[in-house]
């Protein structure tokens, strides 16, 4: 059962298996979770649920994760406060610099370990403004 006092998290992944594993893991911790399976739905859900944190897959058909990240971070009202964690292997300097250009705050390497994902969620939520 989601704890409504905890911040909302938006999980974006075009692979339903991945998305559901993350959702189940975070829901078990009490977080209210919304799942989107592509970039367009993610942007719609973003404005609707106003999440404190977004876990964003990079490789998606259509708008990829970088583009979605950029658009979320440029959102006039929500962009300044949302934390975005890219779920991808940023394995070299170039990728990490590109991630900074989009406004991303953190990354979790893929294939991900749930414990690492959990600690990335915790450390980023600590930096979000109090409700």
């Amino acid at each position: 059962m989601a704890d409504t006092s905890l911040p909302h998290i938006l999980v974006v992944d075009d692979n339903p298996d991945n998305a559901h594993i993350i959702r189940d893991y975070l829901e078990a911790k009490g977080y209210p979770i919304t799942v989107a399976y592509n970039g367009d739905d993610a942007l719609t859900a973003f404005e609707k649920v106003r999440p404190a944190l977004v876990l964003l897959d990079v490789m998606m058909p259509g708008r990829d994760g970088w583009q979605v990240c950029r658009e979320m971070k440029q959102h006039p009202t929500l962009g300044k406060t949302v934390r975005i964690v890219m779920v991808t292997a940023l394995d070299d300097w170039v990728n990490k610099r590109q991630a900074l250009q989009t406004g991303a705050d953190d990354f979790v390497e893929k294939p991900f370990e749930l414990a690492r994902l959990g600690s990335a969620v915790d450390r980023n939520l600590k930096l979000t403004p109090a409700k």
């Binding site: 942007l43 404005e47 658009e71 440029q74 959102h75 006039p76 962009g79 940023l90 070299d92 300097w93 170039v94 990490k96 610099r97 590109q98 991630a99 900074l100 250009q101 991303a104 705050d105 953190d106 990354f107 990335a120 450390r123 980023n124 930096l127």
Partner: protein, 430 residues
């Protein structure tokens, strides 16, 4: 979302030209005229290049709000402030006279222009500091569109916009010519002084050395970035570099304590200057001089360049790579220069406490430096949180307003001279 982003700029909350045309259409048709002011913020791109995109975003927010606040106090009919495109750095002002008042006179527009310029400049200086305020200029071009019903209104507006933009460009060119003349005078009179910006040991706060920052005594030459940009246009870079080096070295003898190092900026192109020779530099102890080479300027001929570096190394000079990590080049290009010090690009330090990707990049750089016997310097440290974070990551040295501001009189606690491990094995004479 795409559509809305085209209509309004998320940073300044100002509408774009495309979004504004419809809302002013009726007024222009009724009043028959439109005055356009085009605000060209020269060198905003430099702010982004030096400090990173987050800084320019923040400067643009300040600019937008300063302009909005100022305009609220004026009485210029149905005037509107807009941006050309989202995320662009130029601003446009539309003035359509309201029904009961005549169009603004030239005198009123001149007053408005100068008021807006002052309001923006003072807000930027107050919020972002003198260095950023000294970096840019504002050029305002003006055009007057007289409505012609035979022509499509949008085209008349866009032509007016181009005319105002061109007028602002002409002013910019005129100003450039004036600046070249100011630079020549600076060179003739040796009209620059050095501010020494302390670099401290992260663990102890002891002063390790000073970076020499050149400042022109003329107001227009206050910013070193501006001086060097003007010098590049006038083909005077070597002359300016020589003066900066000489001034920095003169001050070193007078102001720096024994053991404190002088960090001196040198552009890769300076190594082609015949006057930049080991024997020409009047340095008593070359082991106390660190030559900072920026990673931003491309080095064309690496083997030749490395040969030149070796001449200096053999005398005991040491090297720092400046703005390291500013581009996509990564660690390979840094390794090529075999530096003794690696100065991280300021964009990696700003808000590092809240960005885990920056922390990861800096950790990588610290590990690389430790493996190669170099020291990492974090510059642009302005907040306690940034200082604590870089220290906890293992950054060796710190520079920034949080620890010390630059000063024409070097200050700081004396630090014992600690020779750093050398990076290479071919250094002779040390």
């Amino acid at each position: 979302m795409d559509y809305h982003q085209l209509l309004r700029d998320s940073l300044t909350r100002l509408p774009t030209v495309a979004a504004t045309v419809d809302s002013v259409r009726k007024a222009i048709q009724e009043r028959g005229e439109l005055v356009i002011l085009y605000f060209n913020f020269d060198r905003y791109s430099k702010v982004e290049e030096v400090y990173g995109w987050e800084k320019l975003d923040s400067v643009l927010e300040t600019t937008g709000s300063a302009m909005r606040e100022y305009l609220q106090q004026t009485h210029l009919g149905s005037s509107r402030l807009v941006v050309a495109f989202p995320n662009d750095d130029d601003f446009i002002f539309f003035h359509v006279p309201s029904e009961d008042t005549p169009a603004a006179t030239d005198a009123e527009l001149t007053e408005l222009t100068s008021g807006l310029k002052d309001a923006v400049a003072s807000q930027i200086e107050q919020i972002h500091g003198e260095d950023i305020a000294a970096l840019f200029d504002i050029f305002v071009g003006r055009s007057h569109v007289i409505y012609n019903p035979k022509l499509r209104l949008e085209r008349q507006i866009y032509r007016g916009l181009r005319e105002a933009a061109n007028a602002s460009k002409s002013l910019e060119h005129r100003e450039q010519a004036r600046k070249v003349s100011d630079l020549r005078e600076t060179l003739r009179n040796r009209g620059l002084y050095i501010e020494y910006h302390p670099i401290v040991v992260a663990e102890t706060h002891e002063v390790f050395g000073y970076e020499a920052l050149a400042r022109g005594t003329m107001r227009s030459m206050r910013s070193p970035e501006v001086m060097f940009e003007v010098a590049a246009q006038a083909d005077l870079v070597w002359d300016l570099s020589r003066l900066c080096r000489n001034r920095a070295i003169e001050g070193m003898g007078k102001l720096l304590k024994d053991g404190e190092l002088l960090f001196m900026n040198v552009d890769p192109s300076d190594f082609a200057d015949p006057a930049f020779e080991v024997n020409e530099l009047l340095v008593d102890d070359p082991t106390r001089v660190v030559i900072e080479i920026t990673e931003r300027t491309a080095i064309k001929d690496y083997p030749k360049f490395r040969g030149r570096l070796k001449e200096f190394r053999d005398r005991g000079y040491r090297f720092a790579v400046d703005d390291a990590g500013s581009g996509y080049a990564g660690l390979g290009s840094i390794a090529n220069l075999e530096p003794d010090f690696i100065k991280l690009d300021i964009s990696l330090i700003t808000c590092i406490d809240a960005n885990f990707i920056k922390q990861n990049l800096v950790e990588t750089m610290v590990k690389f430096s430790n493996d190669h016997g170099a020291m990492v310097i974090a510059e642009g440290v302005e907040r306690a949180e940034e200082f604590e974070m870089v220290k906890s990551i293992g950054v060796h040295l710190v520079q920034g307003f949080f620890v010390h501001k630059p000063s024409a009189n070097a200050v700081g606690v004396k630090t014992p001279y600690r020779p750093t491990p050398v990076f290479r094995s071919d250094q002779a004479g040390t």
